[in-house]
């Protein structure tokens, strides 16, 4: 807890610096990543994040220390080289792009690991911490690093904001973008460079391999919450910030804990929650909506059964009889009866269930919708009267009052349905 307050009060300038650094890189990664994701280039992002490793190691070897300028340049060169090789091979051979990506990714990464192992065997003291570049350590960021990585991230953010509408039209429809005279080739080159840069900014804090996750996951999670690009960018940035800062905090609170894996864990959690709970597309949200709908249908059916009895002049149904109408669904039926009771649609007295005044109105409404729809199907859609029941059985639960009055008008306020049953109406309403 003390750690927590110490960290988030930002009283330590070093902590503040780390937080600023990780925030900038999280924002830039999420912004680039949103376009990468929409352009279906997630795999390329993955390839780049693996391909920067040999560059980092080579820079180490040549400079002999962890000078950020060297590291960034080395990482950028091999990262960019990998995208270039990928597009070159896929253009000039018949190999599928994903095959090429997988091959290039493993070759570059393998090379990186070989060089790194070599370097570590030489035992150079300055080399300790080289493995930070694999899983990342946000706490190892010092002022000199912040300057380099921060400026890079800021540049990425500004470029994306400047070219927002150009990137948008390019990703949605390349040929149209080209047809209005946008320099699509150059924009694409710019975007690929941004992608490499976005990975490069994260190599120290998040680590090379895991940067791919920080690039793509925020966008993938954000897509569950919105279907507008501007909002998607903002949501992705927020997700990315949360995971970046939490990851940095954990590295701070538990020394030797790498940052990257924690960032990825938090991100995965966010993505997972989005998958289940998002307002529009979440699995759980859909499931709940479906269950509520089915419950409503069941209640509606009970009301209809009671209405049928009422039409025949009976004063209600025995509880037992209602349960018998829905064999094997005792639990559901009991639930619905309780619900209807609470709503005041029915009353239960000495094992006899009766419709109340408002229950009768509601039951009439459902039956009316059913019969109106049956009539519409036979009159306007030329469907035989014995084929209309099933569809009406489903639609009676969802037809809105607006549609109902439209149906009524179209059918000229009919009195009876195709089976000559009376269409029940509320005497209070005209």
């Amino acid at each position: 807890m003390e750690d927590f307050i110490y960290f988030f009060s930002f009283q330590d300038p070093n902590v503040l610096m780390v937080v600023v650094g990780i925030s900038l890189l999280s924002i830039s990664a999420a912004m680039v990543g949103t376009f990468t994701f929409l352009d279906k280039k997630a795999l390329i992002g993955d390839a780049i994040s693996h391909a920067v490793l040999p560059g980092v190691c080579l820079a180490f070897m040549l400079s002999g220390n962890k000078n950020p300028y060297w590291i960034v340049s080395g990482a950028f060169i091999t990262g960019a080289l990998s995208t270039y090789i990928i597009s070159w091979i896929s253009n000039y051979t018949k190999l599928k792009e994903d095959t090429v990506i997988a091959a290039v990714l493993s070759i570059f990464f393998g090379l990186g690991i070989v060089i790194m192992t070599q370097l570590q065997q030489t035992g150079n003291a300055a080399l300790s911490g080289l493995d930070h570049f694999i899983f990342g350590n946000a706490i190892s960021i010092v002022r000199k690093d912040l300057l380099v990585y921060g400026i890079l991230a800021l540049t990425i953010i500004l470029v994306i904001l400047f070219f927002y509408k150009e990137f948008k039209v390019m990703v949605f429809n390349r040929s149209f973008a080209q047809s209005i005279g946008l320099p699509v080739k150059r924009l694409e080159f710019l975007f690929n460079s941004l992608m490499v840069l976005a990975v490069v900014t994260g190599i120290q804090a998040i680590g090379v391999v895991l940067m791919a996750a920080l690039l793509i996951t925020p966008a993938a999670a954000a897509k569950f919450w919105t279907d507008r690009l501007d909002r998607m960018l903002i949501i992705a940035v927020v997700f990315s910030l949360i995971s970046g800062i939490v990851g940095a905090y954990i590295s701070f609170a538990l020394p030797h804990m790498p940052t990257g894996p924690w960032v990825v864990i938090v991100l995965s959690l966010i993505a997972f929650l989005s998958f289940f709970f998002s307002v529009k597309k979440g699995v759980l949200t859909k499931w709940i909506a479906k269950r509520n709908y089915q419950r409503k249908i069941h209640s509606d059916h009970i009301l209809k059964a009671l209405f049928g009895a009422w039409e025949k002049g009976k004063q209600g149904l025995k509880t037992e009889n209602i349960f018998n109408i829905f064999p094997g669904k005792n639990f559901k039926t009991q639930y619905s009866i309780n619900k209807l009771n609470k709503k005041g649609y029915i009353t239960e007295n000495q094992s006899i269930i009766k419709l109340t005044e408002s229950g009768l109105t509601e039951a009439k409404r459902i039956v009316r919708l059913h019969r109106l729809w049956e009539l519409y199907m036979t009159e306007y859609m030329n469907i035989a009267p014995d084929h209309v029941h099933d569809s009406a059985e489903k639609l009676e639960h969802i037809i809105t009052p607006e549609l109902e009055s439209k149906l009524d008008r179209n059918l000229n306020f009919p009195k009876a349905d195709p089976h000559h049953s009376i269409i029940p109406r509320d005497p209070k309403k005209p």
Binding site: N173, S175, Q178, I180, K223, T226, D227
Partner: protein
């Protein structure tokens, strides 16, 4: 029947296009009149889309050139609009119908400028013209195929161009919408704009278009509708076997290089 005219809006000169080793258009040479509603007919794989893409500078020609308003395309881009085939994009993109139509205003805006009220109003009028105003804020993946097509046409209208190339704008569009779109295009051509449309139905083609181009890898006809729409030319376009061109294409595919690319 290939009729050449003076002062054409579009001039295609001896155009030859291949995809890699696969020659698709052979020596297309045609001129098109201004202010006409022009149809391009031909079977699947005839190279209709390729012809439009090549005129729009989206694919490189092996040889030959095309000019619009007697100028290079780059000089007149602002006056030219292109409607791609609907299937060429991913409709799951996070955008509303209005967002897409607004893209039609981008080239007037230039880089760095954001579309504002004026652009939005223009986009709305264009959506109204294709009867899609009610769907302005609908996510594009939630539109039907025909509605997506109309969004594309609205985007083209928002470009306020003088010449329009439309790749199958009627694909997946119902009959009454198709008729409405045709009369919209006729209004446009009456104002001096030129509309060039890839079309698949020969019968309606006779009614809709002032000028027809018939294509099957090579140019079969280009001229006023009543002169082009003959039994003989139709058979040549749709029925006739082009075994010679296909054979040569196969031969080129097997060889190590494409001799047509110079």
């Amino acid at each position: 029947m290939i009729q050449q005219i003076d002062n054409p809006v579009v001039e295609v000169h001896d155009l030859m296009v291949s995809y890699g080793q696969n020659p698709v258009l052979w020596n297309i040479d045609l001129t098109l009149p201004a202010g006409a509603l022009i149809g391009i007919l031909g079977p699947n794989g005839a190279g209709k889309s390729t012809l439009i893409k090549s005129i729009m500078g989206l694919i490189e020609a092996n040889s030959g050139y095309s000019r619009i308003f007697d100028q290079e395309l780059n000089q007149v881009r602002n006056r030219v609009s292109y409607v791609p085939q609907r299937e060429s994009v991913d409709w799951d993109f996070p955008a509303s119908a209005l967002d897409i139509v607004m893209m039609g205003t981008y080239h007037h805006l230039g880089i760095f400028k954001r579309p504002g009220k004026k652009e939005k109003a223009l986009a709305m009028t264009c959506l109204e013209k294709v009867n899609m105003k009610a769907f302005a804020n609908r996510q594009i993946s939630e539109l039907s195929g025909g509605q997506q097509q109309r969004v594309f046409i609205a985007r083209a209208l928002a470009q306020e161009a003088d010449i329009y190339f439309m790749d199958e704008p009627f694909a997946g569009v119902d009959m009454s919408t198709e008729k409405a779109l045709v009369s919209l295009f006729q209004e446009m051509t009456a104002k001096g704009k030129t509309v060039i449309v890839v079309h698949h139905d020969i019968y309606s083609a006779g009614k809709y278009f002032d000028w027809l181009i018939m294509l099957n890898m090579h140019l079969i006809a280009s001229g006023p509708t009543e002169q082009v729409l003959t039994e003989e030319l139709l058979t040549k376009t749709y029925g006739g076997k082009l075994s010679m061109l296909t054979d040569i294409g196969e031969l080129i595919k097997k060889s190590d290089f494409n001799p047509l690319k110079s």
